[in-house]
Amino acid sequence: MITFKGVWRKLSNKQYRDHYALSLLKRSVAFQIKTLRKKHCGSQAVLAERSQLTQGVVSRAEDQDYGNLTFNTVGRIAAGLDLAFIGKFVPFTDLIRFSQGLSEEELKNILTFNEENVTVPALELLGLSGSSSEEIAPPLPIGPMPIYLTTELVENDTEPQNAADAADLVRTYQRIQPKSEHRLLGKSGVAYAAS
C-alpha cells in the first residue's frame, strides 16, 4: 500500500504536485461521473437527456484523459444526476486523503436530493428544524422555494426567549428588507421564522 509518507515525499517536488493535483482532478471527476451515471441513469444516453447535453459530451466527461470539462458541463451533469458538485480549494494533506479514499462503493452511497429528502429530513441536516433532536422537520414543499435571507445571531445578540419574541424579531428584519423572507438563526442553531 502507498503510504501517506511516500506520497508526501513525492509532493515535495513543486512540479510533481502541480501535475499530480491537476491529473487527479481530471481523472477523479471523470471517474465519479461514470460511477454515478451507472448507478443513477444506467446509460450515457439517459444522463445526457437529463443533463440536456449530447451523449458525446457525457462520453468525453467520463474520459479520464480528456480534462477539458467546463464548469457548465459539470454543473449540468450534476443536475442530471440530481446531485451537487462542489469545487473546493484544499491543502495537499486533504488531497492525499481524497485520493486514498476514492472508492466506487463509497460513491454509490451518495444520495440524490429526493433519496435524501425521504431518508433524512433535510432541514434537520442543516440544523434548522428546531431545538429538539426528536422533532421531525416537515417535508420540503414542492415547487419554487422562497428566497430566504438568514440572519445569524452572534455573541452579543439577545436570543429570543419564546416563539412570540422570535417572530417579532424576524418581522423587524422583514420590515427592513421586505422583498425577502427572513429566517433568524439562533446561537444554538435553532431557526426562527415570522410565523
Partner: protein, 132 residues
C-alpha cells in the same frame, strides 16, 4: 479504501524494472501515472475503464495501464503488468512502456520483456513489493 493493491516486480538481482522506468520519466509523466493508478485502484472492474486494456494474441496474460500526457506534446504510455488469479485485487507492474504514434513501443521489446518477467514470477523467481 482502495479496492486494488498495486505491486512492483523485483528481479532476482534486486532491481525493479518498473521503478527504474518511473525514475527515468519526466515529472509530468510520473504524476500522471500515479494519478492514473490512484483512480484505477478505486475501480472494481478494470475491463470497464479506458485506463486499462487486456493484451491479446502473443501477449495474452498481460494487461496495460493506459494514460496520456499532453505537456508539452501528447504522449501515450502503456506500463504493463499481471494480475495473478490466486491473489484477488492485486496488480503487479512489470515494465514501463511508451507507445509512439506509429505503434512503436519504447522500449521496443517491452511486451516480450514483460512476458519473460511474468514467466520468472510464476517460476518463483524474484519478489513483489508495494509500488511506491
Amino acid at each position: 479504501m482502495p479496492i486494488w493493491q498495486i505491486k512492483a516486480y523485483w528481479l532476482a538481482g534486486d532491481t525493479c524494472p518498473i521503478q527504474d522506468w518511473y525514475r527515468s520519466q519526466d515529472v509530468a509523466v510520473q504524476a500522471e501515472f500515479d494519478a492514473t493508478l490512484d483512480t484505477l485502484t478505486a475501480i472494481v472492474d478494470w475491463t470497464d475503464t479506458n485506463s486499462f486494456g487486456v493484451l491479446k494474441r502473443d501477449h495474452l496474460g498481460l494487461g496495460e495501464i493506459r494514460f496520456t500526457v499532453e505537456v508539452p506534446e501528447k504522449r501515450r504510455f502503456r506500463p504493463v503488468g499481471i494480475w495473478p488469479p490466486i491473489v484477488e485485487g492485486e496488480f503487479i507492474l512489470l515494465v514501463g512502456c511508451e507507445k509512439r504514434r506509429n505503434g512503436v513501443l519504447i522500449p521496443e521489446n517491452a511486451f516480450t520483456l514483460a512476458l519473460e518477467y511474468k514467466r520468472r514470477f510464476e517460476a518463483g523467481e524474484g519478489r513483489t513489493d508495494d509500488y511506491v
